[in-house]
C-alpha cells in the first residue's frame, strides 16, 4: 500500500524506473492489465500520476514495459543450462517451464491474458517470446538430433511446432489448475512425446 513515505523522495531516473517496473510486474500478477491503472500504480508507489507519465509516456507504453519485463523473466527461466545432451537440455527447458507456471500461476495467467487481449505491441512481445522458446529447437547442436525426430526446418513443421507450443501452454495451464491425477513426470513425458506425435502424420504425406 502507498504508505507513509516522506512526501517527494527524489531518486535517480534509473532506480526510479526500475522501482516502478518491478512494482508494476508485481501488481500485474494479481490483477488484469485494465485494472493496473496509472492511478493504482501511482498510489501504490507513493508518487504522483504525473511522474509515471514522465517515465512511461502513457498507459500503453507502461503496459508494454511491464509485459516485456514479465516475458523476459519467463524466457530467462527456461533458458537451456548448456549442460548435458541436446535433447536433455530441451527436456530441462520444458521442465523449468512447467515449474515456472506452477509457481507463478497468477502472474503467468495475467501475462497471457494481457498479451492476448491487448494492443498490437503486447501481442508482438508475447509472440516473439514464444518464438524465442521454440526457435531453440532449430538452432545449435539440438537441430541435428531434432531432425531425426521429424523436426526438419520447413514452413510446415514450423507451423505445427507453433501449434504444439499453444498445445503445451494450454495443457500445462489446465494441469496446474487441476492435475487430474497426472504426476509432474507423466505430464512432462506426455508433452514431449506429443511433439513427434503431431509431426508424424506429416512425414507420410
Amino acid at each position: 500500500m502507498g504508505h507513509m513515505t516522506s512526501p517527494r523522495t527524489r531518486m535517480s531516473p534509473d532506480s526510479r524506473r526500475e522501482q516502478l517496473l518491478e512494482l508494476g510486474v508485481r501488481l500485474f500478477a494479481t490483477r488484469s492489465l485494465e485494472d493496473l491503472s496509472i492511478e493504482t500504480l501511482a498510489e501504490e508507489a507513493g508518487i504522483s500520476r504525473g511522474l509515471l507519465y514522465h517515465y512511461f509516456g502513457n498507459k500503453q507504453e507502461f503496459h508494454t514495459a511491464v509485459v516485456q519485463r514479465a516475458a523476459d523473466d519467463l524466457f530467462a527461466v527456461t533458458a537451456p543450462t548448456g549442460e548435458g545432451a541436446p535433447l536433455e537440455q530441451l527436456a530441462g527447458s520444458l521442465e523449468r517451464y512447467v515449474d515456472y507456471v506452477t509457481e507463478n500461476y497468477h502472474g503467468y495467467l495475467s501475462l497471457l491474458r494481457g498479451a492476448a487481449g491487448g494492443h498490437e505491441g503486447l501481442r508482438e512481445i508475447y509472440e516473439s517470446a514464444r518464438a524465442a522458446l521454440t526457435d531453440r529447437l532449430f538452432e545449435g547442436p539440438v537441430a541435428e538430433e531434432a531432425a531425426a525426430l521429424g523436426l526438419t526446418d520447413t514452413p510446415a513443421v514450423r507451423l505445427l511446432v507453433h501449434g504444439w507450443a499453444a498445445f503445451t501452454e494450454d495443457v500445462v495451464l489446465e494441469w496446474v489448475r487441476d492435475a487430474r491425477g497426472i504426476s509432474r513426470d507423466e505430464l512432462l513425458l506426455t508433452l514431449s512425446a506429443s511433439l513427434p506425435g503431431i509431426l508424424a502424420p506429416l512425414r507420410q504425406a
Copy 2:
C-alpha cells in the same frame, strides 16, 4: 456512420435489441472490445447512449451479449449435419470450422482476443463454446468409434483433447494468415491425424 435517420425512431424492444446486437457483432469484427464503446455503438446505430443502457444495463453486459452471439454463430456453423458415419461427421465439423475461420478471420480473431483478455464472464462463454465443440467427441454414436482411437472418456484424455483444441485453433489461425504452401485438405488431414498422435503416448503409460 450514424446518418440522417429521423430523430427518435420508436421500435419494439425485441427488434431494437436485435438490431443493436447485430450491429455490435458486425462492428466487433473490425475493432477490439475496448474500442467497441457504448458511444461508438450509439453513434453508429443512430441512437442515444442512454438507450443502450436501457437494453444492456452496462458496458460489460453489452460486451457479454455480443460475444455470446458471436460464439453461438460459431457453434451453429460447426454443428454436425447428422448425415454420414460418425467419424465423417467429425471430419465435416472440422472442415466447416476451418472454412468459418477462413471466411470470418477478423471476426473470429476479435472473438478470441476479446474472450481471452476480457472479464470472467467472457472467458466462461468462450470456454463453454470450446467445450461444446469437443464434447461431441464423447457423446452419442461417435463415442464408440472414437474410443477405438484412444478417446476413452477419462480426465487425462479430456485434458489432452482440451489441448488439442488449442492446438487446432492456433494452427488454423496461423494457416489462414499464411498457408505456407499447405492445401486445405492437407491441413484437415494433419489436424485430424494429430489427435491420435497426441493421445498415443498416453496408451503406453
